[in-house]
């Protein structure tokens, strides 16, 4: 953030000292998220191609998916997005105490989601579905596994922000740090919105 931006009065237009007039970190994050769309697009496309391909006797989606259980996980991730924006709103008004609370809530909901995924993968493995048994299994585990890896990175990021806030190194003037982490976290959420529908709810 430039000094000019930090000293700007309420609602006054802020012009960053960059060629676009926009904050370069935010531009970078949106460019990254655009590339992530293509990454997950290719994984979702691959899953859609392969999800109906299995040999007779192999496990199929409806044999292993537990919709009530996955719905709870999806709800936890959706609510984590609310906690994330509440954390952002807190730091923007200088309320560091609530910022820390909402960052922890967001990370906790992310961990609940990850715990659900670990349970689900373990359960599928016990039933005989793993990345090696069929192209459905491969594409399913690669897609949801990469999403889980993104959630894990997001949780580490959130806990890092919490540590900074706890040490007094994250204040109102650095709200962009939380906003950028929030963009990443919401992206992980919208990817799951698509995966939950395409992978779990729409029947093969």
């Amino acid at each position: 953030m430039t000094e000019f931006a930090a000293a700007a009065p309420a609602h006054a237009p802020v012009v960053e000292e960059t060629s676009t007039g926009l904050n370069t970190r935010k531009v970078l994050m949106w460019t990254f998220l655009g590339s992530e769309c293509m990454f997950f697009g290719s994984l979702i496309g691959t899953y859609l191609v392969y999800r109906g391909r299995y040999l007779p006797g192999q496990l199929i989606p409806k044999d292993v998916f537990e919709i009530p259980y996955t719905s709870v996980s999806a709800f936890a991730l959706l609510m984590s997005s609310l906690a994330m924006v509440l954390a952002l709103a807190a730091i923007q008004r200088g309320d560091i105490k609530r910022l820390k609370i909402w960052l922890l809530v967001t990370a906790a909901l992310g961990l609940i989601f990850l715990g659900g995924q670990v349970y689900e993968f373990t359960s599928f493995g016990a039933q005989g579905l793993n990345p090696n048994v069929s192209t459905f299994g491969t594409s399913f585990f690669v897609l949801t596994g990469f999403h889980g890896a993104h959630v894990s990175m997001g949780v580490i990021w959130l806990l890092s922000l919490f540590m900074l806030a706890a040490r007094g190194q994250l204040n109102q003037a650095r709200s962009l740090d939380v906003e950028i982490a929030g963009l990443y976290w919401h992206f992980v959420d919208i990817v799951w919105i698509i995966i939950f529908t395409v992978v779990y709810l729409i029947p093969v």
């Binding site: 926009l22 655009g34 496309g45 040999l55």
Partner: protein, 117 residues
Amino acid sequence: MSAQAMVHPGEKPHPQSREYVILAIILSAVTGIEVAAWYWEAIRALMIGGVVIDLLPPVLIVLSAFKFALVVMFYMHLKFDHRLFSGFFLFGLGAAGFIIVVFIALFHFLRAPFPVT
């Protein structure tokens, strides 16, 4: 600094906590409708104009697209931020949609018979 995020030229102030909570309630309700639709067997074989139609996939796609749009517009602030950010994201999203359509078309028309021995 105000309670709002910094506002750049071409941007509007972001929503506040109350709006975020209302949005979360809407998102939760839509998720509930999605799961309820999944459990509603009749939607998979609705008789419309003498033709049996499975309405589950289109209903689920519309609902998830609605949720996706709400999160992107309000939680990610694309509705309020500079249009350049929307451009970056929508370009990637359009490319992703193109990739998915090409994959499906490619494997639908050119796929080998399955199972392959």
